[in-house]
């Protein structure tokens, strides 16, 4: 943990905060794209260390939040089948579908299991040859390589009782959709360091050129976040729209070539619906044709699923950074982590949940 302590050092945090105060001459609005960054900012009170001119708004990068309701409902329909072991990352279990969540399926007898890696789900399929093991493959470019590896290995090892319910999303198309939105206020982005580690920095170049916004690859610890914020403000103050890397201990310009090759082998880009943000062109991944036998949506006949979303939830506006959680009239009253009205309250990385956990009751730094 020594490695991590360096990036939580209070002296370094204070020095960076002071440097940012000195640098800023006018109002700026930055968006941290990733939910992990939102969580760290609120947990450590990073925004409270910034001068009042700088506003951080919280982006759509929480895979739990943006997984569309239809996918959750499909997951629930599959997990309910008696022949199925449904394996998922833990935090998907509490996401409310139209009627109920996966925890409720488990409580009423469904075999729903938490795994930490999709490869564990594949091992589960080999160990249970008489059951169908379905893995809920959700997430951004960060989870995609491991999920691709599970599909790749299932095909290579001919594991016939394994399949993936895929709901993979891509970051850059969501950033574009925010920039073209009429309510957009974002002037610079802190890009998610782990996504950049996999994909490199090229995906942001068209955004930087077309919209003249700086994009800074940023890590997740307090020192990382403040370095990313400093660099982004420096570019804004000097009028430069560029890509910068403030997470160079993990991110290489070209990304991880082996992971990208695996993604290209298993997945292809597709249009995808985002919970709260609607349909975004070319913003998702789906299995390529050689992997269709491992596609849970093709394996199980699912009846048409009619979804119904709570109409009082403003999570779409929160995900686009147009509203802050506390400005929602339902926040912490009708909408709580026990009874979430929408996705941003469910996941620990959702902005509403982070504000609920760390900021209610007017407790601020």
């Amino acid at each position: 943990m020594k490695f991590l302590d360096e990036y939580r050092n209070p002296g370094a945090v204070r020095r960076l905060a002071a440097a940012i105060r000195k640098l800023v001459t006018r109002r700026w609005t930055l968006m941290e794209v990733c939910g992990g960054q939102t969580h760290a900012i609120v947990r450590f009170g990073i925004d409270a260390l910034l001068p009042p001119e700088v506003e951080l708004i919280h982006g759509p990068g929480c895979p739990v939040c943006v997984t569309p309701l239809a996918s959750i409902d499909k997951a629930i329909a599959i997990a309910t089948r008696p022949d199925v072991i449904f394996a998922s990352f833990g935090d998907m279990l509490r996401v409310p579908g139209s009627q109920r969540d996966l925890l409720a399926v488990k409580a009423s007898g469904g075999d729903v299991r938490v795994v930490y890696s999709p490869m564990d789900a594949l091992a589960m399929a080999r160990a249970n040859p008489n059951r169908q093991v379905v893995f809920f493959a959700v997430g951004f470019e960060t989870t995609a390589p491991a999920n691709a590896m599970a599909a790749f290995e299932a095909r290579r090892q001919r594991v016939g009782n394994f399949s993936l319910l895929v709901s993979q999303v891509l970051v850059a198309p969501a950033m574009r959709s925010i920039l073209v939105s009429p309510g957009n206020r974002v002037q610079g982005f802190l890009a998610a360091g782990h996504v950049c580690t996999v994909m490199g920095l090229d995906a942001y170049r068209p955004l930087v050129e077309e919209f003249r916004v700086p994009v800074v690859a940023t890590g997740f610890e307090p020192v990382d976040l403040l370095r990313g914020i400093y660099r982004c403000l420096e570019l804004l103050e000097s009028g430069r729209a560029e890509i910068a890397n403030e997470y160079s201990r993990s991110v290489r310009e070209e990304g991880n070539a082996a992971a990208q090759a695996l993604l290209a082998e298993v997945f292809e880009v597709s249009d995808r619906a985002w919970r709260g943000m609607g349909d975004i062109a070319a913003s998702g991944l789906r299995l390529r044709e050689p992997y269709w036998d491992w596609d849970a949506e093709r394996r199980f006949e699912l009846e048409h699923i009619a979804t119904s979303e709570c109409k009082d939830c403003i999570s779409g506006l929160v995900l686009r950074g147009e509203r802050k959680p506390e400005s929602c009239p339902e926040f912490s009253l009708r909408c709580t982590p026990e009874h979430p009205l929408g996705a941003t309250m469910v996941s620990s990385e959702g902005a509403c949940s982070a504000y609920y956990r760390y900021r209610r009751n007017g407790i601020d730094a």
Binding site: P10, R14, P63, R94, R113, V114, T142, T143, N361
Partner: protein, 343 residues
């Protein structure tokens, strides 16, 4: 009367008849359970235990234990079942007088495993200077239990004259924590299917009776005690803030978390403030007495890491934490279960 043709020894595992009230149940009790606990009360074969009551007040508590896996690094369900109930009595300022044990066994559970669990219970009970004087055994169909569930209850003699509890907490109290956080939670998690990872970490499962009695014997004015169990430090403090009606303010930097727990928490996306502990407690004492209380606690191995982590203030009943950066945040009870996150 002819002997049963199928002697007990041929069953290496629990069958339904072990809970049926007949000969097999009698065999289980007389050959496995009573010898495991060895004390006069059980051998009387009566429906309950009768013993002398001390002068003064009695504390009474009960808890049920369900844990998966049953055997984990640093302990097992038996050790938990005795330590947990003795610790609950200790948190009332009481020394245990007698314990009960109720077992719900699943058909097919290995008798050898039962013997190990009983041995752990007996070892912890002896350490606490208490006997398991009465009990009950039931058997459920295979698939209806998780091997073994245990309920223990305990009565104890209250050793403190003043009331110990959230109602006695007052502004100006110091909040002491007896050691580092999260060892039990991570040790159990590390042994579970699906998230197994290698660690040398052991559960902190332990008796807390000695340090608590020493605090009382030293004349420290103890206002409230709470052992940290499932919901971790955060949940214990939020409960006390709400029940006592005061604001608790803690300092992040003063809360100990060992490198293994921190590493595993970072990896799994868990917050050590919410991880389960089975051998840690918080004590509320007047701030002026905090240094002496810490000194007393540090003389026991189980609370060698004791330190002051915060203060009680007047104000809304909630818990706040000062971070190492001088910012402040709310500490909230966790909603549902802590679930490992995606990325």
């Amino acid at each position: 009367m002819p002997e049963c043709p199928l002697p007990f020894a041929e069953f290496g595992f629990i069958v339904m008849a072990h809970g049926g009230g007949g000969r097999l149940m009698h065999d289980l009790l007389s050959r496995v359970i009573f010898p495991g606990f060895r004390n006069g009360h059980l051998e009387h074969g009566h429906d309950g235990a009768v013993f002398d009551a001390p002068q003064g007040r009695i504390a009474f508590t009960t808890d049920s234990y369900v844990v998966r896996p049953l055997f984990f690094p640093g302990g097992d369900i038996g050790k938990l079942a005795v330590c947990g109930t003795v610790n609950d009595l200790a948190m009332c300022g009481a020394r245990p007088l007698a314990l009960s044990a109720g077992f719900i066994l699943e058909e097919g559970f290995a008798v050898e495993s039962l013997r190990s669990v009983l041995a752990s219970m007996q070892e912890s009970a002896q350490q606490a200077g208490v006997s398991i004087v009465t009990g009950d055994t039931k058997v459920v169909d295979r698939g209806k239990g998780d091997g073994i569930f245990i309920n223990t209850a305990g009565v104890g003699e209250v050793r403190s004259r003043a009331l110990i509890g959230p109602a006695a907490v007052a502004p100006g109290d110091a909040i002491l924590l007896s050691g580092d956080l999260g060892r039990h939670g991570i040790a159990v998690l590390s042994a579970r299917e699906g998230i197994a990872f290698e660690t040398a970490l052991e559960s902190d499962c332990a008796l807390l009776l000695d340090p608590v009695m020493a605090l009382l014997d030293a004349g420290v004015e103890v206002h409230c005690l709470r052992d940290l169990t499932r919901g971790g430090l955060a949940s214990a403090l939020v409960e006390i803030a709400q029940a006592g009606g005061h604001r608790l303010e803690i300092e992040e930097d003063s809360i100990g978390v060992c490198a293994e727990v921190r590493g595993a928490s970072e990896m799994l996306g868990l917050d050590p403030l919410y991880l389960a502990n089975e051998g840690r407690f918080v004590a509320f004492v007047p701030e002026a007495q905090a240094p002496r209380a810490c000194q007393v606690l540090r003389s026991f191995a189980v609370s060698a890491g004791a330190s002051m982590i915060g203060r009680v203030k007047a104000g809304k009943p909630l818990v706040t934490m000062r971070t190492g950066y001088g910012t402040s945040r709310l500490v909230e009870m966790f909603s549902g279960e802590q679930l490992p996150r995606i990325c």
